[in-house]
């Protein structure tokens, strides 16, 4: 039990003393989650937009499929990505197994269904008069995309935060594809898994708190953006 309290104080100690392993894990986490979020948003928002704004045969089926992918377990994603990125696999020659870009590929697969599904919903629940209004104003498809994103920005920010939460807290993909290599692919979550596996429970708690501090920082930035966007 005392490892809980000990861990709480250790969190601040690790951050304050600039513990190199902790800061390496923080930097690695920030780096890989930024890559994954950027890719998820850049690919997911346009896809979610087209899924939401258009009406086509099979839209319901496609939507159901995307929603089902929201339940894709991270260990399975990790396993699939490993299979593809392994030297024996089709993408082996890129040599990105056990590197952060490899992990980012997996985490993007994790985040995409969230972004697509929530963007589609956000777009669908916008005022129905938006699309015809833009059309009468002579909007190009690109302008249509950007203006709709602007109108739905609050819902999209929430979608981004939901995807971020899922990405930054996952272990399955980072472990399998990253390999938890010290100084290179050891994220905060894989470090927690390692330390608790070594029996160092208070370090595990401490790193968990560190992760929440990082997440708090990110959310504060987004909240600042939200204010400006009003």
């Amino acid at each position: 039990m005392d490892f809980l309290l000990h861990g709480f104080f250790q969190a601040f100690h690790l951050l304050w003393t600039g513990d190199p392993e902790t800061y390496s894990a923080i930097w690695t986490t920030v780096l890989v989650s930024t890559m994954s979020m950027a890719a998820s948003l850049l690919i997911g928002i346009p896809l979610g937009f087209s899924l939401g704004i258009n009406d086509f045969k099979g839209k319901k089926i496609l939507r159901t499929l995307v929603d089902t992918l929201l339940s894709f377990p991270t260990v399975v994603i990790g396993l699939l990505v490993y299979a593809f990125l392994s030297r024996q696999g089709p993408l082996g020659d890129f040599g990105i197994l056990f590197t952060l870009p490899g992990v980012a590929v997996g985490q993007t697969i994790l985040g995409l269904p969230i972004i697509i599904a929530l963007t589609a919903t956000a777009v669908e629940t916008l005022d129905k008069r938006l699309k015809p209004t833009l059309t009468t104003l002579g909007a190009t498809p690109r302008q249509m995309l950007f203006t709709t994103i602007l109108e739905a920005r609050h819902s999209l920010m929430l979608a981004a935060m939901a995807a971020y939460g899922r990405i930054v807290s996952e272990v399955g993909i980072s472990m399998m594809v990253g390999g938890n290599i010290k100084w290179h692919t050891r994220t905060i979550t894989t470090a927690i898994a390692l330390e608790t596996g070594k029996g160092e429970f208070s370090v595990g708690i401490a790193l968990g708190i560190v992760l929440m501090v990082v997440a708090l920082g990110v959310n504060m930035c987004v909240s600042g953006l939200r204010k400006r966007a009003r």
Partner: protein, 277 residues
């Protein structure tokens, strides 16, 4: 607003590309190793820094069970392995997947259990102890994960003339690493088999006063040999065979062997060097 958004997107894309490009490392090699070697701190505290100092090569090691390490070698995803399952290693050597097998160091396996020793196995011979535990239906935790330790434990059941008690209620297959398995045994007041190195680390975690104590030790059948093997470049053209060879030779060199023998926790030696000169 649209311009600002576009600029932001381009900036993120540029940043991602920049940061995502694999950095050109001086010289690095990937080593797959066992969780028991990694969790003792031998790699982090001694091997990796010293090897970097002596040769300028950085070892990126991935700690998984022996079964997985050997499989990763077969997939050409690593350059060398450091494992402790001689029978499994031999299979891969015979198949030509791994080469240059070099014995490096040993310790032994021990059977641990609660100080109260409800099944009364203390001081018994391994075979008798296993039979006693099975007869008493005492909780026994197993790695259950195809690791080197797991393979040894299974061989002990076989040597005692029993099948692995797979479906028994008292046989707890954790599927996790050694420390977690020991912790589960401690929670349930049961027994388990571990390598001495991890046990000493476990003891150190508890500041010398661990709930589980060594009850059975010292027989030849509990001998635990660690070896390094290189991935065959003929089977895997992309592996860094030259770096792997340097690693293995360095591990077997007198200076490194001496340093391994001096690596201690709680004043106890974890691995005894035994590379044949």
């Amino acid at each position: 607003m649209e311009e600002a958004l576009k600029k932001l997107l381009y900036a993120i894309a540029a940043l991602t590309l920049m940061l995502g490009t694999p950095a050109y490392a001086a010289k690095t090699m990937i080593l797959a190793t066992t969780t028991s070697t990694a969790n003792t701190g031998l790699l982090d505290e001694l091997i990796v820094p010293q090897f970097a100092k002596d040769t300028g090569i950085e070892i990126k090691f991935i700690a998984v069970g022996t079964g997985k390490a050997l499989k990763m070698a077969e997939n050409c995803d690593v350059d060398a392995v450091l494992v402790h399952a001689p029978a499994a290693e031999q299979k891969y050597v015979d198949a030509g997947v791994l080469i240059d097998r070099t014995q490096l160091m040993y310790n032994d396996f021990v059977i641990i259990g609660p100080a109260s020793d409800p099944a009364r196995i203390k001081g018994k011979k391994v075979v008798e102890a296993m039979k006693t535990i099975a007869a008493a239906k005492s909780v026994f935790t197993s790695r259950g994960d195809n690791s080197g330790t797991n393979k040894k434990e299974i061989s002990l059941w076989n040597v005692s003339g029993m099948a692995v008690p797979d479906k028994e209620q008292w046989y707890v297959q954790t599927g996790q690493n050694m420390i977690s398995t020991i912790n589960i045994a401690a929670e349930k007041g049961g027994y388990t088999m571990t390598d001495r190195g991890t046990y000493i680390k476990y003891e150190a975690n508890h500041k010398g006063n661990a709930p589980l104590k060594i009850l059975v030790e010292g027989e030849k059948v509990l001998f635990n040999q660690y070896s390094a093997l290189a991935v065959n470049p003929e089977k895997c053209p992309s592996v860094k065979y030259d770096l792997a060879t340097r690693f293995i030779k360095w591990m077997a060199s007198p200076k490194t062997q001496e340093a391994i023998g001096k690596f201690k926790l709680l004043g106890k030696v974890l691995f005894t060097p035994n590379a044949t000169q």
